[in-house]
C-alpha cells in the first residue's frame, strides 16, 4: 500500500477518450440513423464511457478482483428488476 503501488495511467488520454465518445454520441443524435440502431449505439457508447471511468478514474483495473465483485454485484439485480417488469408492461 505504498506509493510504489499507485499506478497512474495517462489520465489525460482517458479524458480525451471520454471527450471524443461524448462528441460522437451527441453527433449521432443529430444524424439520420435508424432509431433502433441509434439506441443500440448510444447504449454501447455510454457503457464504454462508464467502463473508462470505472476502470481508470476509479482504478478498478488496479484493484483486487474481489473489490470489482463488490462493484458488480448490484448490476445483475438491476437487470433482473428492469427486465422482469418490462416484460410485464410490454405485454399490454
Amino acid at each position: 500500500m505504498d506509493a510504489a503501488d499507485h499506478k497512474h495511467p495517462n489520465y489525460v488520454a482517458v479524458w480525451g477518450g471520454l471527450f471524443v465518445l461524448t462528441v460522437i454520441e451527441v453527433a449521432a443524435v443529430y444524424m439520420r440513423i435508424p432509431r433502433h440502431l441509434l439506441v443500440l449505439a448510444l447504449l454501447l457508447l455510454a457503457a464504454w464511457k462508464a467502463l473508462l471511468v470505472a476502470l481508470y478514474f476509479m482504478h478498478l483495473r488496479f484493484e483486487p478482483k474481489r473489490l470489482a465483485l463488490v462493484a458488480l454485484a448490484p448490476l445483475p439485480l438491476g437487470v433482473i428488476l428492469v427486465v422482469a417488469v418490462l416484460q410485464e408492461f410490454a405485454k399490454r
Binding site: L77, I80, L81, Q87, E88
Partner: protein, 582 residues
C-alpha cells in the same frame, strides 16, 4: 492486520476509558453501547406495536364495542372508545410499519449485528464507529416522525405497511395527507440508518477479522448478519427510490403511480416487493444465525453441515431477489411472469429445508441442555417449520389465488416473524444478556416467559390459518359485516382472547429484564461454556473489547471434542496436544 486497519479511533484498546459521560452513554461510538441503545429502542417499538395489535384484536373480536380504556383516545380515533374504521386502518398500517422497520429489524440487525460482529470476529470496534452512531441516532427522528402521524390532521398513514399506490398517493382516497408524508419521510430516514449500518457490518466483517478468523471459521450468526447486511444494502435503496417517487407524487404532483397521469400503479408493487421480499429475509436470516449458535451450544455438538449452512444462507439471500412477484400473483401481472415467479419461489424450499434438517442433525446424538436460550431456539425451530410449510401453499399460484390477502397470509407472516424472528431474538437476548450487562437473567422467569409465550402464541396465530381458509380477508375492520364470515366470529373471539394473554405473557420478560439489569447475580465470563470470542472477555466487555488481539485457531462449534477435558474448545485456545480431527 487488524490493528493496522483499525477504525478511526487509532490506538483503541481495552482498558483505558476516559470518555466523558455524554460520549460514553449517549453519543457513544462504541458498538456495544450502540447495540444496547438499539435494544432499548427496538423493545420500546415492539411494545408499541404490540399495544396496537391489542387494539386491532379488540376490534376484530368485539367489533363496535368500546375498547377498555379507549375513552382516553381522541374522538378522531375512537369516539367513546369505539374504534373508527379510519383509525383501524391507521393501526393496521402502523402495527406493520413499527414491527417490521422499527422493532424486528433493529432488534436483529441493530442489536445483534452491532453487539456481536466485532466481538465475535475479534475486532476492537466497527469499521466506522461514527457512522455507526449516526445509524442509531437517525432511528430516533425516523421513529418519531412515524409516530407523529397519529397526532396530525387526518391521522397517520392508513394504506397498509405496503402503501399500495394509488391508495397511498392522494388524500382523496384515504383522507390522510400529512400522515402519509410523515410515513414516507420516516421510512426514507430509516433507509439512511439501515444503509449506514449495512456498510459498517460489511466492511467490518470483510476487513477487521482477527488473525486466524478465516471465512469458514466465522460463527453462523456472523455469516447470517453479514449476508443480511448485503441484502439490506442492495434492497433498501430500491425502497428509498420507490418512496421518494411516492412522496413526489404527493407533494410535487408527479404521476409515477397515478394512472390518471399515465403512471403505473403496479410499478409501485414491483419496486416495493423487490425490496420487500429481501426484507423478509433480512428479518429471518439473522434469526437463523442466532439460533444456529444457540442450538449447537445447547446440544453441545458441532453444527451439522457448517458449509452447507453457509451456502444455504447465501442461497436464500440470492433467491430472495428473484421471487418478489409471488406477492403479486393476483395483482393483474402477466400470468407467464407469475409462472416463473412460482418456480423460483418453490426453489426457496430447498435451502430452507437444508437449514431445518441440519438443525435437527445438530441435536441428533447431542447432550441437550434446556437452558432458556435453547428453549427459545427450539421454539424458533418448531414454529419456523410451520411458517415455512404454510409458505408452500402461497407459492402454489392456484391456491394463492384463494388465500391471498386472507388471514392465511397473516398467520404465515406471524409464524415466520413472531414464531421465527422474535423467538430467536428472545433466545439472543437471554443468551447475550449476561455479556451485555454483566448480570444473569432469572432462570425461572425466563422459563415461564417461554412456556406461556409458546402456548398463547400458537393459540393466537394457528386459528388464523382456519380463518384464512374460510376466506376471511385481512385488514378488515368488521368481519361480522359479511354473511359468510359472521359464523366464524367465535374464532376471532378466541384469537383475540389468546392475543391478550400472549401480551400478558410478556410481563415475566419485562420484569426479568429490568430486575436482572439492576439486581441480577453477577455473570461469570462464560456462563454457557461457549467457544466464540466474546466469551473470552469480561462481562460487560471494556471499551475496545480485547486487551490483545486474539488469534483464532478453529471454528466456533468445537463442542465435545473427544479427548478434551471439557465439552467445549474456545476458538482462541491454542491447539491441544493432539491434532484436530477433521
Amino acid at each position: 492486520m487488524t490493528a493496522a486497519a483499525a477504525p478511526h479511533d487509532a490506538g483503541l484498546h481495552a482498558g483505558h476509558d476516559d470518555r466523558p459521560w455524554l460520549r460514553r452513554y449517549v453519543f457513544s461510538t462504541d458498538h456495544k453501547t450502540i447495540g444496547i441503545q438499539f435494544l432499548f429502542l427496538s423493545l420500546t417499538f415492539l411494545l408499541l406495536g404490540g399495544l396496537m395489535a391489542m387494539v386491532i384484536r379488540w376490534q376484530l373480536g368485539f367489533p363496535g364495542t368500546p375498547v377498555p380504556g379507549g375513552s382516553v383516545l381522541p374522538d378522531a380515533m375512537a369516539p367513546g372508545g369505539v374504534i373508527r374504521p379510519s383509525f383501524y386502518n391507521a393501526l393496521v398500517t402502523m402495527h406493520g410499519t413499527f414491527m417490521i422497520f422499527f422493532a424486528v429489524m433493529p432488534l436483529l440487525t441493530g442489536v445483534f449485528a452491532n453487539y456481536l460482529i466485532p466481538l465475535k470476529i475479534g475486532a476492537p470496534d466497527m469499521a466506522f464507529p461514527r457512522l455507526n452512531m449516526w445509524s442509531f441516532w437517525l432511528m430516533i427522528p425516523a421513529g418519531t416522525l412515524a409516530l407523529a402521524g397519529f397526532f396530525v390532521e387526518g391521522g397517520s398513514a392508513a394504506s397498509g405497511w405496503t402503501a399500495y399506490a394509488p391508495l397511498s398517493n392522494s388524500p382523496l382516497y384515504t383522507g390522510v395527507s400529512a400522515g402519509q408524508i410523515l410515513w414516507c419521510l420516516a421510512i426514507i430516514i430509516f433507509g439512511a440508518s439501515s444503509l449506514l449500518g449495512s456498510v459498517n457490518y460489511i466492511a467490518t466483517v470483510v476487513n477487521l477479522r482477527a488473525p486466524g478468523m478465516t471465512w469458514m471459521r466465522l460463527p453462523l450468526s456472523v455469516w447470517a448478519l453479514f449476508i443480511t447486511a448485503i441484502l439490506a444494502l442492495l434492497a433498501v435503496p430500491i425502497l428509498a427510490g420507490a418512496i421518494i417517487m411516492l412522496l413526489f407524487d404527493q407533494v410535487l404532483g408527479t404521476h409515477f403511480y397515478l394512472p390518471t397521469g399515465g403512471g403505473q400503479p403496479l410499478l409501485w408493487q414491483h419496486l416495493f416487493w423487490f425490496f420487500g421480499h429481501p426484507e423478509v429475509y433480512i428479518l429471518i436470516l439473522p434469526a437463523m444465525g442466532i439460533v444456529s449458535d444457540v442450538i449447537a451450544n445447547g446440544s453441545r455438538k458441532p453444527i451439522f453441515g457448517y458449509t452447507s449452512m453457509v451456502f444455504a444462507i447465501g442461497g436464500i439471500a440470492g433467491l430472495g431477489f428473484m421471487v418478489w412477484g409471488h406477492h403479486m400473483f393476483v395483482s393483474g401481472m402477466n400470468p407467464t411472469l407469475g409462472t416463473s415467479f412460482m418456480a423460483s419461489t418453490m426453489l426457496i424450499a430447498v435451502p430452507t429445508s437444508i437449514k431445518v434438517f441440519n438443525w435437527l442433525g445438530t441435536m441428533w446424538r447431542g447432550n441437550i441442555h434446556f437452558h432458556v436460550p435453547m428453549l427459545n431456539a427450539i421454539g424458533f425451530l418448531s414454529m419456523f417449520v410451520i411458517g415455512g410449510l404454510s409458505g408452500i401453499f402461497m407459492a402454489a399460484t392456484p391456491v394463492d389465488m384463494y388465500i391471498h390477502d386472507t388471514y392465511f397470509i397473516v398467520a404465515h407472516i406471524h409464524y415466520v416473524l413472531f414464531g421465527g424472528s422474535l423467538f430467536a431474538a428472545f433466545a439472543g437476548i437471554y443468551y447475550w444478556f449476561p455479556k451485555m450487562f454483566g448480570r444473569e437473567m432469572h432462570d425461572g422467569l425466563g422459563r415461564w416467559h417461554f412456556g406461556l409465550t409458546f402456548v398463547f402464541y400458537n393459540l393466537t396465530f394457528f386459528p388464523m390459518h382456519l380463518l384464512g381458509l374460510g376466506g376471511h380477508m385481512r385488514r378488515l375492520y368488521d368481519p361480522t359485516q359479511y354473511p359468510f364470515l359472521a359464523p366464524m366470529q367465535p374464532i376471532n373471539v378466541f384469537v383475540s382472547v389468546s392475543a391478550f394473554l400472549l401480551m400478558a405473557a410478556q410481563l415475566p420478560f419485562v420484569v426479568n429484564f429490568f430486575w436482572s439489569l439492576f439486581r441480577g447475580p453477577k455473570a461469570p465470563l462464560n456462563p454457557w461454556r461457549d467457544n466464540s470470542l466474546e466469551w473470552t472477555v469480561p462481562s460487560p466487555p471494556p471499551h475496545g473489547n480485547f486487551v490483545e488481539t486474539p488469534t483464532v485457531y478453529r471454528g466456533p462449534y468445537e463442542y465435545s471434542v473427544p479427548g478434551e477435558l471439557e465439552d467445549f474448545l474456545p476458538q482462541d485456545r491454542p491447539a491441544p496436544a493432539r491434532q484436530e480431527a477433521h
